[in-house]
Every structure is written in structure tokens, then in C-alpha cells.
Symmetry: C2
Subunit: 436 residues, 2 copies
């Protein structure tokens, strides 16, 4: 992508309404724009990051044997009344329709997926299975804050699993936890993400959150020091933590340290909470009916983009992990005219990289000063910035700044290409069993 053709532009000044580091940097770098408070649009570079987070999540969901579908954003008032949540789900948008209709704008999809699945599940032979979607959710928040971290409209992955009994749910729940570990690994967040025990509701002792350490995060978690000593990242959320009483469910230890964090994902055992009101049942071997046992598993896709922004950004701007960066390389030819050798060499480098499937930004804005262009490269935060100049041509090497560590190195094109093509983390092979 040539920067002169990108219709977005970088800005030096923070936007007036920036309420957080991620809003400030993502807007200034041209990744997002606010439509209104708590509602954002994603510009070309930002959409690219969002899609790459989706890919990482989708591959791990497919590896679990989960089937992708796309549920609707609107649903009927009746469905939410049947689950008892029309009047009690505090951030549910109630949408007046033509005539005397009233709809819900879905903040989560149990009310939609359970009646849908009821068309297909009759026997124990239809179980277990899981399905998921990556879709826009809506929440009627009174106040919004933190840029794209807490929005009225946001992108989520939601997975639902369906089982005969608790034991089967338990096995799948464990496998999803492993898959979530791989997702956070791929996004560069593994070392700061804590599997956090939270209230389990009426169907299990605990649910789980995935909390990412972040000094400006809005949640407080209590990290188990005994678990950490064994190389495991386990925490308790503040809602269920009682100082001097809480025991780590993994280690039994009672030593915790407090930390600020931001929730990126959560998983719940729903049990039969939704299958009972919607009569989602199966018949067993002996012809007896039972309600289906369910789990639900969320990951905040757009929220993760905000968290990753805040985790990695520095004073100069964004710093993207290679796995989700809008490009791997940002080429800056230090030339004044397109006829100069440095410009031509840079263009040829771009073509060679793209020929190898490596995505690159090319700063062809020759009317902008080198200082502005180098500052923009830092602000946009692509992993490898390559300057091509008379000096680098003489040296016959590339001057590569590694944005993550801030160091500049001289290297060959081959070495740069090797950096851009790390061996991809491989999702688990598709299993032969049916989803469970």
C-alpha cells in the first residue's frame, strides 16, 4: 500500500474526545474514527488489524471442530422474554419496529442460537457439537470510555457448545481453555494474560475470564503467587476475592498480589439455563428426554485490538506484534524525486517483498520531510521500518529499525525476509471426533 493513495492521514494532535491511550493513538495513526461516543468505524489500516485478529481466533475455533455461522443482530422481544432477560439484561437495546413490533439488538446470542439449534438436535446422536460466529454486538451503555475497550457496538467471537451431560461439557471446556491459550500466544499476549477465576453463576463453581495485565485496565485481579512460582498464570477476580480467605483453586496457595488488568475473553458453563426455557432437549438411548447442557465462550475481537494497542504502544506511537500488524515492513525512501536511485531501489524492494507475499507500506509522499515520514512510521507501528537512501545503497545493506525493540540494524534483504516469515504457530490438526 502506497501511503499517498491511502485516503486516511496521520495527525500530530490527539483528538478532542480521546478518553484513553488507544483512542488517542488509533485515531492519530488513522486506524479508527469515532462515529459517536462509544461507536467507532474502522479505517483501512485498522480493519486490516481487526481481520488478522479474527483469523487467529477463527483458525483456533476451526481446530476445535467448531462450525462457523452468522447469527442475526436483531431478534424478537418474545425470545428475550422467554429467557426472562427482556426486562433484566440492563444494557439490552429495545428497538421499536414498524406497527407495534419491538425488537432486541443482540448483546449476546443465547436467545437466538438455542431456538435455532432446536431445529436440528433431537437425539443423543446429534451431540456434542459447537458453533461460533464473529459478529457485531450492541450494548446500551449509559457511559462509555476507554476508546474501543468499552463500546456500544463492538466485534465479538462467541462460541456455543452443546452436550449430553456435564462431563462432556467439562471436557470441551478444557479444550477451549487450551485453544484460548494458543490465541493469546499468537497475539503476543500469552505472558501477560491470566486465566482468572470468577463467579460461576448457578451452574458451576467458577467461570473464567482471560485478563491481560494493563496498568490502565479497569479490572483488579489477584494473581496467585504459588501458581506463578510453578510457571502458571492464574488469578482470582475482585468480585470473588476475599483477602485472607480466598484459596487458589489450582495450587491451594493463599498468597496473592493485586494487579490492574483488562478482560479480553470469558467462558461460562451455562448448564441448562437456556435449554430449559427454549425446550432444547435430546432423547437418550432409552428414549428418555433431557435438556441439553451448554457452554458459552467469548472473545472480544475489537476489544483485543484496543488492549494490544495499550499493551505495546510507547511514546512514539503504536507497536504491533507481527501476527496482526497491518503490514510487516514500512519502506521509507529518502528521496526528493521519483527519478532518484533510492526511490527506484525502494520501489523494487517493495515489489520483491510483495512477490513473496509480504505486506509492506511504501511511503511515497516525497513532498513530506524525512522527519515527518520517519515519525509517521513510528506512529503507525509496523514491525520493520526500512530506510532506503544513498547511504544504504552504498553499504549494499538495508537499514532496518525493529519497532518493537527500537533498535536499528544493518541487514541483507534475505535476513529481513526471514524476520517477516516466522514459522507460523500451527493450530491443532482437525480431530476426527465430532466437535466434542
Amino acid at each position: 500500500m502506497r501511503l499517498s493513495r491511502l485516503f486516511t492521514k496521520t495527525a500530530r494532535q490527539a483528538p478532542n474526545n480521546a478518553d484513553s491511550l488507544n483512542a488517542d493513538l488509533l485515531v492519530r495513526a488513522g486506524f479508527v474514527q469515532q462515529t459517536m461516543a462509544g461507536v467507532y468505524s474502522y479505517l483501512p489500516l485498522g480493519l486490516c488489524v481487526l481481520r488478522k485478529i479474527e483469523v487467529a481466533v477463527r483458525e483456533e475455533m476451526n481446530a476445535l471442530g467448531a462450525q462457523e455461522l452468522l447469527l442475526s443482530a436483531l431478534s424478537s422481544r418474545e425470545a428475550w422474554e422467554r429467557s426472562g432477560r427482556w426486562g433484566t439484561f440492563d444494557v439490552l437495546f429495545h428497538v421499536p419496529g414498524a406497527g407495534d413490533q419491538e425488537y432486541a439488538l443482540n448483546p449476546t446470542h443465547e436467545e437466538i442460537v438455542v431456538p435455532l439449534v432446536r431445529h436440528f438436535v433431537h437425539s443423543h446422536r446429534d451431540l456434542p457439537f459447537a458453533c461460533y460466529q464473529i459478529q457485531t454486538k450492541f450494548r446500551n451503555e449509559l457511559r462509555v470510555k476507554s476508546g474501543i475497550l468499552r463500546n456500544r457496538e463492538f466485534l465479538m467471537k462467541d462460541l456455543y457448545s452443546f452436550h449430553q451431560d456435564d462431563a462432556c461439557l467439562e471436557r470441551y471446556y478444557e479444550r477451549v481453555q487450551e485453544a484460548y491459550g494458543r490465541v493469546f500466544d499468537r497475539l503476543g499476549l500469552a505472558e501477560r494474560t491470566y486465566r482468572t477465576f470468577a463467579s460461576g453463576g448457578s451452574f458451576s463453581q467458577y467461570s473464567h475470564e482471560y485478563q491481560v495485565l494493563l496498568p490502565q485496565g479497569e479490572d483488579t485481579i489477584y494473581i496467585s503467587e504459588a501458581a506463578e512460582a510453578r510457571g502458571r498464570r492464574v488469578a482470582i477476580n475482585s468480585e470473588i476475592y476475599r483477602k485472607g480467605e480466598t484459596v487458589c483453586p489450582v495450587t491451594g496457595g493463599m498468597a496473592f498480589r493485586e494487579a490492574c488488568a483488562s478482560e479480553a475473553a470469558n467462558i461460562f458453563k451455562l448448564g441448562t439455563k437456556f435449554s430449559v426455557p427454549f425446550k432444547l432437549q435430546y432423547t437418550d438411548d432409552g428414549g428418555q428426554s433431557h435438556p441439553v447442557v451448554m457452554g458459552c465462550y467469548g472473545i472480544g475481537i475489537s476489544r483485543l485490538m484496543g488492549i494490544i494497542t495499550e499493551v505495546f504502544a510507547d511514546d512514539e506511537g503504536l507497536r504491533w506484534p507481527l501476527s496482526i500488524a497491518p503490514a510487516a515492513v514500512h519502506i521509507v525512501p529518502l528521496a526528493r524525486e521519483v527519478t532518484e536511485k533510492a526511490y527506484k531501489e525502494a520501489e523494487e524492494l517493495l515489489a520483491r517483498l510483495e512477490g513473496r507475499g509480504i505486506c509492506a507500506l511504501f511511503d511515497d509522499r516525497l513532498n513530506a520531510s524525512p522527519g515527518v515520514r520517519l515519525a509517521d512510521a513510528d506512529l503507525i507501528g509496523v514491525p520493520f521500518r526500512v530506510v532506503v537512501s544513498e547511504k544504504t545503497l552504498q553499504k549494499k545493506k538495508l537499514e532496518v529499525k525493529k519497532r518493537q525493540v527500537g533498535e536499528t540494524e544493518w541487514m541483507t534483504e534475505k535476513e529481513l525476509i526471514a524476520l517477516c516469515n516466522p514459522s507460523p504457530p500451527s493450530p491443532l490438526p482437525l480431530r476426527q471426533e465430532r466437535g466434542g
Copy 2:
């Protein structure tokens, strides 16, 4: 995909609420489910078709130099008041928010994209360019009908172009028409799609619709016979057609024949209708300000899925063009046990096809009768059905039913693979100019 693992199932009976051929077949074949009247969810096979239509459209938009972004579904009441459409856009959902807020649930995105673009366009040097998205739209329809053809929630591609003057808009408008021609060609609809002249509103003599011939279509168009004689598909929509008065804008002829059709796309010259109220201006060479001139270009993605369904379906079920079929091949081993040779050979064929990147459905439901399985293959409508049996193994050839034409042929695996890999239609190479 093994059919035993797919959580959806086919149904013999039409759903109670089927109001059209597409609703009947897509629901029975397990492609979609109705959430409520006018709102559908897309199941794994249906989502696959939807994504393939998206890819065909996206590649042609990228080839035009248009930049993809993702705009929000919610917007502020103020934005719609500024354009004068809050109270006048008859199917606009007004959504009450927390406090005394009120939002729009966007049926189209001029009110969102124009203020967004205003952040980036200042000078004539920032023009022309175009941006597009593939996103969910909402319309508060009093009545809905025709399955996924006219919904309260549906998937659209909307492209917006920005220019200095009418001449530049005109050139881009022509290029988009060419791109739309390629889209309909890729979807197998070219020969029955008519570029249809419609009312141009306040900024040009005509707008254009892309109408697909369909006996059960809700629109009436008047096909220019003189244009047809020259091999061009041109029509006039009923809104502006006057018998004995209307002249074909392309040929000057006055002979027309009436036909039923369904609208799949439309394009408008917006002129300065939105840039004036939102103050989207640029300064020219001499420092003078002018409003930006705009075009907008829609394609109904989910609507196209419904149109394609109705255009190609026959009495046995769906018939997908290869370009958007959920799979190229549907393998039916006629075996009772997984230990039989026919089953093993079929499984090996599946592995070889998938190894070549050819997507296949594999009907491993050995407890279902051959009749049910062959009927399901017809209902799901994948282009090539391959039966593997003792008989086909003896012949050492594959028995391939071409679903589109209904004929069965004996062929080699190599011949089947060649059928599944037609040379792809190539989008125009990316141009060097900036969008326009």
C-alpha cells in the same frame, strides 16, 4: 466437510413460514434459518456461499482501487438530522439509548462516511478516491417477504467515491459499471442481468439499477429491443417508463418488452447532496473552496444469494454456480460399513481433492438410505456429485452428476479436477492512479 459432523440437517417439508422459493429451499437444505420475520441467520453452508459472493465483489472493488473500511451500524440522531433524513427516511430504525439519547440503526451510510472523510480531505490533492465496506444494514420494513430478498437486516456492499467535479465522477461511474458487469459475470448472472435506467434524483438524469430477470421478481422492467439486437442488455425501470414516449438512452429505440426482475444493485450520482450539509469541501489550486462531488454504489450481498437461489433452483433443490457453491464436489459412497472398499476409496478421493484445494462434502451418513442421500445431494446443489460404489470401482471411472445440467457422465479423476478448477476470472490489474 463430513455431513455426519455438520450440525444442520436437511428437511423434506417446507418450513411453515416459507413465503418464497428461496426461503423454502435455503431452509430445507440447511443454509439459513429465520430468526424472526425478515431476519435470517446464516448456517455453515449458507455462510460459505455468502463469503464467496463477498470475495467476488471485494476483488472487483479492490481492482477499482477502492479502499475497504468498516463503518458502524449505530450513528447519532444529529447526523441524520443534519442530512434532513431523520424524519423522512421511512424505514430508518430510531433506537432509544440510555439517558435521553436516540440513535439511528443505519440503512445506508452517507451520514457516517461523509463526516468521517471530512477529517482527511482538505485539498484537491486529496481527491479523487473511493472507499467501500461489506456490512450489515437495517430497515424498519412494515412488511417483509420473499425470504432473504427483502429483509429488515441484510448484508450490503456500499462504495462511496469522492471527486473534484462531475467529469471525474462520470469517469469513475463508468469504471464501476464495468466492474459490476464483471461481478455479475463471476456469479453466473451476466446473461440475465440488465443495466436498468432509473430516476436520477436531483443530480443527474438517470441512476442505474442492475436487474436480474426472474419470473417471480417484484420489479417490472422494460427491455430495449434495439439494444438487445446489438448484444447489449439495457432496460428502463417502470418508475420512469412511459409507453410510446420513452426512448432508450443507449440506442434511441422505442421498442421495449416487459419483464419481471429483481434488483441486485444500484448506483447513484449523489453530486453534492451530502457534502454540502456536512461541509465536505476541498480547496482548488487557487485556494478556493468547493463542495466534494460524490457517487454511491451498492450491491446486495445477501439479496444476491436469494436471487441466485431462485434463478438456478429446480424441482429437486438448489443449483449453485461453481464460483459460489459451498463445495465443488459432493461425494456419496454407496456403502453400508466404513470397512467396505467403496467407502475407503471415497475417503481417499476426498483426501486427494482437499489436497488440491478443492472443497468437497462427504456424505458419511451410512445409516441413511442411498435414496435419501442422493436426494440430499440434489437439494444442497453442489455442482458435481460423485457416487462411489462397487460398480464405479469396477469401471475404474467416477460417476459424476453435473447438477447444473442434470446429466451423469463417467470420467476420470483428472477430468473431475479440471472441471473444479476453471481458469478464474481475473479482476483488472490494480491501476497506478489514486482511486479515480
